[in-house]
């Protein structure tokens, strides 16, 4: 029972940590689905959103504004910052690149990454800023069954709830609304989308705005867990194996991919680590992704690439 209890605890911890990867991966999937662009800047956008939020919070709290009001205003401020960023990116980077190849757009997002990182830290500062929107302590559950209970971190549970809500909203947005259909249309073919009267520049603004808001959501959870700091940018790298496993075009894929990566790396660390040495956590996800690439290149939930030749 103790062995099983330990396994369960590792599994739950892993799954919940995985949800946090999913949060970042969702931002990637969204832009990829909607514009066919792999957005390298998603990690930088999480950093920017986090910085805008935490700095405005600190600013307001220091001036005696009640915490709840500061949180609401802080989130609003950060959302506005993301909207402005989306508008600037659309106007000056993507606008001139309409009808260009996906690879050119990808290269542009690498440039965007560095600009956002630099500008964000220049404006808001580059220290580690602690953020405490969610409780960071833990629950002990199933006390009666397992000795000492199972440790479940509250912040991870919050992350799970938020990710679930986000997926529901995004799924409805993509599948049910005219804008969602327009987004998918733009991703498939710029020229065709324009010819049926879809204003591509507006759609791109919407996409980047939504990705910015997803980044903000991820930032609230990650910022609470790690503090808002530059290394959040590297989260983006952890989202890569998640995307490869789940599929670049699938919202559920991002969630399942995140869960697999999270649970997989924790279990591997605890159970394999004893035998082949620790530190597995850092590379396990990439090996898993490689294996998926060999068997199912489009990922578990990705759209099969159809090409008639």
């Amino acid at each position: 029972m103790v062995v099983f209890g330990q396994f369960l605890e590792v599994l739950i911890g892993g799954l919940l940590a995985g949800v946090l990867y999913s949060l970042v991966a969702l931002g990637f999937v969204l832009i990829f689905k909607a514009s066919g662009v792999f957005n390298f800047a998603q990690g930088a956008m999480v950093l920017l959103a986090g910085l805008a939020l935490v700095r405005s919070l600190d600013f307001m709290v220091a001036r005696g504004i009640p915490t709840w009001a500061a949180i609401v205003l802080g989130l609003l401020f950060a959302a506005v910052v993301m909207a402005i960023t989306a508008a600037i990116i659309q106007r000056f980077v993507l606008g001139p690149l309409v009808n260009q190849d996906g690879l050119s757009l990808f290269m542009a997002t690498i440039g965007i990454t560095f600009v956002i990182e630099g500008a964000g830290q220049m404006i808001f500062g580059s220290d580690v800023y602690p953020l405490s929107l969610f409780p960071t302590d833990a629950w002990f559950i199933l006390d009666g069954i397992f000795e000492g209970g199972l440790l479940v971190s509250k912040i991870d549970v919050w992350g799970g709830v938020i990710a679930g809500a986000l997926v529901a909203v995004l799924a409805i947005f993509f599948q049910r609304t005219k804008t969602g259909r327009a987004l998918r249309a733009v991703a498939d073919d710029h020229a065709a989308a324009e010819s049926v009267g879809i204003p591509i520049t507006w759609i791109w603004f919407v996409v980047w705005l939504v990705a910015g808001l997803v980044a903000l959501t991820a930032a609230t959870v990650w910022g609470t867990k790690l503090g808002v700091q530059f290394s959040i940018v590297f989260l983006a790298l952890k989202a890569l194996p998640v995307l490869i496993i789940g599929g670049f075009t699938s919202v559920p894929g991002a969630i399942v991919g995140g869960l697999i990566v999270g649970a997989g790396e924790k279990i591997a660390e605890v159970y394999l680590g004893q035998h082949i040495g620790g530190g597995i956590e850092y590379w396990f996800a990439y090996v898993l992704a490689l294996a998926v690439l060999l068997v199912r290149p489009q990922g578990l939930f990705g759209e099969r690439i159809i090409e008639r030749i």
């Binding site: 327009a182 324009e194 010819s195």
Partner: protein, 278 residues
């Protein structure tokens, strides 16, 4: 060429027989349009017009500037000189989605479909401009938004019936054979209920059977809905059969303009297509 004329679609000539088919005023006028890409002149000082209710063909050898002309009309390209007048409004520049909202829809030479989406969704995308309900209503999928969705769905189903593509309604279009993809693309353009329909080589790469079908669709759309059609096509048999007037381009210049008979007899057109002995 002769063979093509003999094998012309038998429905084709029907278009000219219909008595109440009315050719109206000029709906689109192209005036002195020139377009250059750097040093390459794609179109040089071309003027012509399209009248309401007619089928207007744009022909010419490869590289004559036909597709560029279409791109200028629907706003993908901005001409260096000259103006386009559509429904009395003169303009020199246009955004494609604004052209679409004013009633110009088009198909593409090399197919521009939303490959990952189903036939139904592709054609529904053509209704994008006609849907008015807000995001929230649509997300709830309830009330007015649902009624609106159903109304548009009905219109789309009519188009699907008309083009005889019921069996591929749910299929991702990327998987369909070329001829069917062309048909879906026409369906999407029709879903916009355009006043002016631009078709860029609607019959390219089709077999005889498919060409007959496509000619029939174009003529029916023109006859029954009064849609003005401008098309680019290389199959002379089809062009001469279904179009009311033909404009001929060569090296970006207009070399002839008139009824199919006039154009066919024009020495410059014959030279352009057959070459001149030097």
């Amino acid at each position: 060429m002769k063979a093509d004329v003999q094998e012309r679609p038998e429905t084709a000539s029907a278009g000219h027989v219909v008595a109440d088919r009315v050719i109206g005023d000029v709906v689109l006028a192209v005036d002195n349009v020139s377009l250059a890409f750097g040093g390459v002149k794609a179109i040089t000082d071309v003027s012509f017009d399209i009248r309401k209710g007619e089928i207007r063909a744009i022909i010419g050898p490869n590289g004559a500037g036909k597709t560029s002309m279409l791109n200028v009309i629907n706003g993908f390209y901005h001409p260096n000189q000259g103006t386009i007048t559509f429904k009395g409004k003169k303009r020199s520049q246009m955004r494609p989605y604004i052209a679409a909202s004013q009633g110009i829809s088009r198909t593409f030479q090399n197919l521009a479909l939303f490959k990952g989406m189903s036939t139904l969704d592709n054609i529904m995308a053509g209704r994008a401009l006609k849907m008015r309900r807000g995001l929230l209503w649509q997300a709830l999928h309830w009330g007015p938004a649902l009624a609106e969705e159903i109304r548009h769905r009905e219109a789309v189903e009519k188009i699907i019936d008309f083009l005889e593509i019921q069996h591929i309604r749910k299929a991702p279009v990327g998987k369909l054979p070329y001829g069917l993809q062309k048909r879906v693309e026409l369906g999407r353009a029709l879903a916009m209920e355009p006043e002016l329909l631009l078709l860029d080589e609607p019959m390219a790469g089709m077999n005889l059977e498919e060409k007959k079908d496509m000619s029939r669709y174009i003529l029916t759309v023109n006859d029954q809905f009064g849609t003005t059609v401008a098309l680019i096509e290389h199959d002379m048999g089809v062009v001469m059969d279904i179009s009311d007037r033909v404009v001929v381009l060569e090296y970006g210049r207009k070399i002839a303009d008139g009824t199919p008979d006039e154009v066919q007899r024009d020495q410059r057109v014959i030279d352009a297509y057959l070459g001149i002995s030097h």
